[in-house]
Every structure is written in structure tokens, then in C-alpha cells.
């Protein structure tokens, strides 16, 4: 039987990783890490509530991010606004399959996967679903690693808007979906950061 640090009254500092005996705290009382002075808790405070809030907000913003136009390429006065998906399709049709796959993974697959995995992890903790703790932890590490790659589309927009700024010949304009998509990326990053994977393992300790 493995013992968690919390069962021994030991808290690990989230910033510097130092272990300290955390005494029973009264209401409103706080403790600080003796090494780096960060607030000390056994688990991230309000982890689930915060993760749910960020996840729900991100899910809502997925709708404008995918429906509204994100990029308009105008060459010689002509050009239609592109949504994220129609941009991917255009790349695929133009025989740029490799780039189409990269953009699809970064701007559609990653945000959707992240939200689905976050919901699964939070349901596992809340409804005590009997999923493998090990696999849940791997999923948690996966969303942490992959989250930043959604920024790809935004960086690409910034590069294209500046590079293709040729007056009447060709210009690239960003659309309203870009801001919504940026919000989705940032909110999912926050959601993943506020989730505490130790809650999954706590289910076994009760």
C-alpha cells in the first residue's frame, strides 16, 4: 500500500518542490513554504471549480473561433474570408498536404482533444470513474505538452499579415475568429494548469 504525502500531513510546494509538515490550519489561516514563501496547500485550491470554469468558457468560444472568418487573403482586389477549417481544406486542395495536416492538428485537433481530455479527467475525479490512474496521468501530461502548439495559427497569421502587405497586389487581413481562437488557447492553458493530477490518485487513498 503506497502512502501519499498528504496522509502523513506533508505538503509539497508547487513552486520549489520542498516538502514541509503542514499543520492543521484554522479558517482563513494560511501557511507559506519555508524555502520560497509561496502559499502552501496539500492540493491546488479550488482546482476542479477553476478547471471547469476555464473549460466551459473555452468550449463556448470554440464556436465563434470555428464559424467566423480567421484570415482573408486578397490578391488583386479579390479574395474570400477563410475559416480555420476552410483554410485547411484549401491547403489540402493546393497539394500542400503536409502543411494542411500540421495546421489541422495545431488548430482543430489539439484544442478539441484538450477540452475532451480535460472533461474526462474532471469526470474521473468527480464521479470516481474506474479508469486507470496511470493512463489518466499520461493524458494529463499529454495536454500539458501539446497545449502550446495551438498558438501556431496565431503566429502564422501575424507573419502572413506582415509579410503579404503589398498594397493593391496582395494583402492578408485577420478576422474576428483570431481573437476568439486566442482566447480558446489561453483558456485551455489555464484550465490545464489549474487541474491537479494528484486528485486522480487521491481516489485510491480514501
Amino acid at each position: 500500500m503506497s502512502i501519499s504525502a498528504q496522509q502523513r500531513g506533508i505538503a509539497r510546494c508547487t513552486e520549489c518542490g520542498k516538502l514541509s509538515h503542514l499543520p492543521e490550519l484554522g479558517h482563513d489561516a494560511t501557511a507559506a513554504c519555508p524555502r520560497c514563501n509561496t502559499a502552501l496547500n496539500f492540493r491546488k485550491p479550488q482546482s476542479l471549480q477553476r478547471s471547469w470554469a476555464y473549460t466551459i468558457a473555452a468550449t463556448a468560444l470554440m464556436i465563434p473561433a470555428n464559424i467566423l472568418p480567421i484570415l482573408t487573403v486578397i490578391s488583386f482586389g479579390q479574395g474570400d474570408p477563410d475559416t480555420i477549417m476552410s483554410g485547411v481544406v484549401k491547403l489540402w486542395v493546393a497539394d500542400l498536404q503536409a502543411i494542411a495536416v500540421i495546421v489541422f492538428i495545431a488548430s482543430i485537433a489539439v484544442p478539441v482533444l484538450k477540452l475532451v481530455i480535460l472533461v474526462i479527467l474532471m469526470l474521473v475525479v468527480q464521479c470516481q470513474l474506474p479508469l486507470s490512474r496511470q493512463q489518466c496521468t499520461i493524458l494529463y501530461r499529454f495536454i500539458h505538452f501539446i497545449g502550446r502548439w495551438s498558438m501556431l495559427d496565431l503566429f502564422m497569421i501575424s507573419i502572413l499579415v506582415t509579410l503579404v502587405h503589398l498594397g493593391n497586389i496582395a494583402t492578408v487581413e485577420s478576422g474576428p475568429a483570431a481573437t476568439a481562437f486566442a482566447a480558446v488557447v489561453v483558456l485551455t492553458l489555464f484550465a490545464a494548469n489549474s487541474f491537479d493530477p494528484r486528485l486522480i490518485w487521491d481516489l485510491d487513498n480514501d
Binding site: R8, G17, R35, L91, T137, I157, T162
Partner: protein
Amino acid sequence: MAEPSHIPHEFTACPDCDLLLQTAQSDHTLEGRCPRCKAVLWHAAKHTDTVSFAAAISGLILFYPAMTLPILKLKMVGQHGSNSLLGGIYRMWLEQEQILAVLIMLCSLLAPLLHLLLTAVVCFSVRFNHYPRHFPLWIKYKCLMQNWNMLEVYAMGVIVAYVKMMHDGEVTVSAGTYCLSALLLCVILCSQYFHEEQAWQHWEKNKPA
């Protein structure tokens, strides 16, 4: 208020599953993993802060050219266009996308700069055994900035933009790309070789009373 008390160094808890573990000092060979969830608990510290210090200084030298020199150049029907990292942020600001401009500035300019700067300062402090009062804050902000540093994603964005414009005009790679690649290498070395636990232990041993 009750004060948290110290735990001896031979104990550690897994950051991902909170398993309490005992670690022998001789175990610090290469890399330690949690037996339950396989999280990395520690990794070897071999002349590490020398490499990250050097990488941070090189990165800071490369920083200005990487931000301001043109990364890609485009030639279309006799017209020329080019972009730099800083120019991209400025353009987004002018195009009424201020929120995006700030986010891109944070992830591709501010975070890498502060990450390199704070790593250099922390390594300098450890090396010369001089610890200012706000040393813990510096390490904390360094970790925060490391998380927001997305230069590698930006580099991928450059590749995607290059391939995307290849058919419409003549795209050429310019001086900024080489500086950006070198800067990226420095940032990666800087974060791979920095040993956080070591810096914390130095601080704990030598902190001013």
C-alpha cells in the same frame, strides 16, 4: 499562526501523484522516476549551470537581431514584402487586433527575453554565491516565463507561412531566420540544462538571515 516545519532531504513526494518516497543520496545517478506514475522526480546535475549560463548569455546577444531582422522576404509582381518578429507584433497592433498583438508579444518576445535574463541572473548568483533578497521570486518568474516562452511554435509558424506562400510568389529566407534558429537553440539549451532543485538548495543553504 502555525509554521510549516522542515522535512529531511531524503524524502520526496511525486509532483503528479503525491506518492511519498525515500531517496538515497547514491540514487542521484541519472534520472529518478516515480515508481507509481513514472513522473520525472530528479535528473542528473552535471556542470549544468555552466551550460545554461553560457546559453542564456548567447541568447541575450542574439535576441535583438532575431527580433528586428527580416525573417522572410516575399517578391510578388515586382513588389517586395518582408516581416520581422517585432514588425509582426506592430502590424497586428495597427490592424486593430490589440489583444492578439499583446498575446503574441508575451509568447514570442517578452517571455523568451525574461526567461533568458532571469536564467542568466540566477546562474550568476549561484556562481558567485551572492544572493539578493528577491532571489526566490526570480526563480519563480523564470519558471513562469519558461512556460509562456513559445519560440519553437513561432519557428514552426515561420515554416508553415513559408510553404503557404511558396506558390504565390518568390519567398526567401532572410538573416532573421538564422538568428531566430540560433536563439531557439540557446533557449532550449538554457531550459534543458538549468537545474532548479540545485538553485533552490543553494538558496536554502546561503540565504541571508
